[in-house]
């Protein structure tokens, strides 16, 4: 048992799971952080990203990895368009007193969008299970065997998460986003273009979801109804990390990846949900605002 626990195999599995969770949750968190909108259709965007990679690969033989930036840009464009056509108009028309209502109603709006996306995808793509074989060679380093597509998923998701975290802490636009996340009204008063930040959040959030979908399609099979579990995982991560807290979300994703892998190794696979949601409840009991609450960061 000790040998298993100390093996790099489990560490690799935990990092792959955690990094994909982190990327999924990151997009969700950006949209929530800047606009307080819970995008319950987020997992469905992941699913659409997976289909884009699948069709590109199946019909035209395009490498999913090379297609990933294009698919991410397309996802970002959809996000920006959706913000412009739907949410900006709603938020813009809303007075100060009704803005909160609009934000809470966004939950229902996204829920409707989720159902619409799922069933449209089922109609257009058929509900058949899809998947493809890509970079499935196994690379062995020491005593750790790694399927190349899982290694690539880890590297891409990890790099993107770190890059976005750096962007938020170093770039002027990223700092503006953080300002809106942490002090929305104050940011507006000191001249931050809140509308631009919100648009950017939608773009980055949707783009991140699309890339997560590309990575997911390389690792597992999917169907039009595969998005919901990603939405749930994303919500667990961002609540655990602190709603709107990007760094906390990244740490929470890794925490869940480790719980899922090492927890199962120590107990039983059958206890996966108990471990995941049990640790979720326990953490929230002691840290109601998430693992890294804003109070702790400062």
């Amino acid at each position: 048992m000790l040998e298993t626990m100390l093996s790099g195999q489990l560490l690799f599995a935990a990092l792959v799971t955690g990094s994909v969770y982190a990327l999924v949750a990151l997009g969700l968190n950006l949209v929530y952080g800047t606009m307080r909108m819970l995008n319950v259709a987020h997992g469905d965007l992941v699913m659409l990203g997976a289909y884009a990679a699948f069709w590109g690969f199946s019909l035209f033989g395009l490498s999913p990895l090379l297609m990933a930036p294009v698919i991410a840009l397309a996802g970002a464009a959809v996000g920006v368009a959706m913000y412009r056509m739907l949410f900006r108009k709603m938020l813009g028309k809303a007075s100060q007193s009704t803005a909160g209502k609009v934000e809470s109603n966004s939950l229902l709006l996204f829920f409707g969008l989720s159902i619409l996306i799922q069933n449209s995808a089922a109609f257009v793509f058929t509900p058949n299970i899809r998947g493809y074989v890509y970079l499935d060679a196994v690379y062995t380093l020491g005593n750790v065997s790694m399927t190349v597509n899982r290694l690539v998923a880890l590297l891409v998701a990890g790099t993107l998460c770190v890059s976005i975290a750096l962007f938020l802490s170093r770039h002027v636009l990223g700092l503006a986003m953080r300002a809106v996340i942490e002090r929305r009204e104050a940011a507006s008063v000191v001249g931050v273009d809140v509308d631009r930040v919100q648009k950017l959040s939608f773009g980055v959030g949707f783009g991140a979801a699309a890339i997560a979908g590309v990575l997911m399609s390389m690792l597992e099979q999917f169907s039009p109804f595969s998005g919901f579990p990603f939405t749930v995982a994303g919500f667990v991560v961002i609540i655990l990390g602190g709603l709107g807290n990007i760094t906390g979300g990244l740490l929470a994703a890794l925490f869940l990846g480790f719980i899922e892998t090492y927890g199962v190794a120590l107990t039983s696979a059958n206890l996966r949900s108990v471990l995941l949601y049990g640790s979720f409840v326990v953490v929230l009991l002691f840290f109601p605002n998430g693992l890294l609450s804003k109070r702790l960061i400062r």
């Binding site: 298993t4 093996s7 195999q9 489990l10 690799f12 599995a13 792959v16 799971t17 799922q118 069933n119 089922a122 058929t126 509900p127 058949n128 299970i129 899809r130 998947g131 493809y132 074989v133 499935d136 196994v138 065997s145 790694m146 399927t147 899982r150 690792l219 597992e220 099979q221 169907s223 039009p224 109804f225 579990p229 899922e260 892998t261 090492y262 199962v264 190794a265 039983s268 696979a269 059958n270 996966r272 949900s273």
Partner: protein, 399 residues
């Protein structure tokens, strides 16, 4: 009551949506005087991805029947039209749909929905209205508790029989030790419950026995344990989703057992596409059909399915669906639309199908043997039992 503007708009939109929903009616309903055959199918919801192989088979059958002038209804040919509703992957919805199909749509015949819970759920409706239905994609020992009369189950893939036959096959392959990994969903859990006592009584050591939830995302810890146990065979009692996860991670960890059994998933065309042909090759799974010269129409069914859909049929579910249609055709040709006549024929006669002879005792098909197929050079071959094998079992070499 005075409505404010927003509420009025919402009410109008809601009413319009409701009107649309109710007026939409059956997905394929048409007017005219063809033979109307109704069923529900999970077109949306969590089970929707499991149903295409059955739905495709129904569509193929309708196309072929209509191409030859229609279904023989006691000597009169009538073209076939489907009345299909989406049961949204909910058995309780299927119950309402079948009641509606019988009482409101007044369909002439019924076909089966997808999956065991749906078959069991609609059985009382069939009993109530004395409307016969030949089931297909249902497999559980619980089916034997269904009151015989108006529903029959064509499959021989019943968990207790699977336990016995799989053990016999392992014994024949001189397997001394196994690892049993089971999804906790009902069908695979049932197989595990019947399989493990059989293995023990046959003297096969179960070195690893573990269960996992349907939403499992990573099997590294479990498969590392399996690898360390150095067993002769791995019996992955998986559903389609985790069958792919198992195959991919078994490849990553280099599980080298020559006997790799994966319960559900590999019989469907998606499996080799998602895991790769080399990974699929050698995997043994549950199915009791394959094209055989002895089974009239089996090769023709396979060829026409591949021609229409560009992929193999599911060797379990598509074959079962086709068998149920063949049985219904014979009963209707003999009795017309007389429900009692159809019921009596299905209950008593022996039918020639693409899977050989079928005869029911109570609700069960008592002729078709429980069997297993194996991917060999990209094709599924019947490898067990030897009496109907199309090829010999070959140990899996690598992934």
């Amino acid at each position: 009551m005075k409505l404010d503007g927003t509420f009025r708009r919402q009410a109008v939109i809601g009413l319009a949506a409701a009107a649309f929903a109710f007026s939409a009616g059956p997905l394929n309903a048409q007017t005219g005087n063809p033979l109307r055959i109704g069923f529900s199918m999970a077109r949306t919801g969590m089970l929707a991805n499991a149903t295409p192989s059955q739905m495709n088979t129904y569509e193929l059958w309708k196309e072929q029947v209509n191409a030859r002038g229609g279904m023989n209804v006691a000597g009169v040919k009538r073209t076939v039209e489907f009345v299909v509703y989406d049961d949204q992957s909910k058995p309780e919805q299927a119950v309402r749909i079948y009641e509606k199909l019988i009482t409101d749509d007044k369909v002439d015949l019924l076909l089966a929905p997808w999956g065991t819970p749906f078959h069991i759920a609609i059985a009382p409706v069939l009993e109530k209205y004395k409307f016969p239905l030949v089931g297909n994609t249902a497999a559980s020992v619980a089916l034997r508790q269904v009151k015989p009369g108006y529903i029959w189950f064509t499959t021989s893939a019943i968990p207790d029989r699977i336990g016995k036959e799989l053990t016999a096959m392992l014994k024949q392959q001189n397997v001394k030790s196994v690892a049993v990994l089971s999804n906790v969903l009902p069908f695979t859990k049932e197989i595990k419950n019947f399989l493990e006592p059989e293995l023990k009584s046959a003297g096969i050591e179960i070195k690893v026995s573990t269960e996992y939830p349907p939403n499992i995302k990573d099997m590294t810890a479990t498969l590392t344990q399996v690898k360390q146990a150095k067993v002769d065979a791995v019996l992955a009692l998986a559903y389609p989703g985790d069958s792919v996860l198992y195959a991919k991670q078994a490849k990553e960890l280099g599980l080298s057992q020559g006997f790799q059994f994966v319960a559900i998933g590999p019989s469907d065309a998606f499996f080799p596409k998602v895991v790769g042909k080399s990974s699929a090759d050698g995997v043994v799974t549950i199915a009791h059909w394959s094209p055989r010269p002895e089974w009239k129409g089996s090769q023709a069914f396979y060829d026409s399915y591949v021609k229409k859909f560009g992929e193999d049929p599911d060797f379990l579910n598509s074959a079962l669906a086709w068998m149920s249609l063949e049985i219904l055709e014979v009963a209707v040709a003999k009795n017309g639309l007389n429900k009692e006549g159809i019921r009596a024929t299905i209950a008593k006669d022996t039918f020639e199908t693409i899977n050989g002879k079928v005869k029911f005792e109570g609700v069960q098909n008592v002729i078709t043997p429980t069997a297993f197929v194996q991917y060999q050079k990209g094709k599924l071959q019947l490898v067990w039992p030897s009496s109907m094998a199309t090829s010999k079992f070959a140990p899996k070499v690598g992934w």
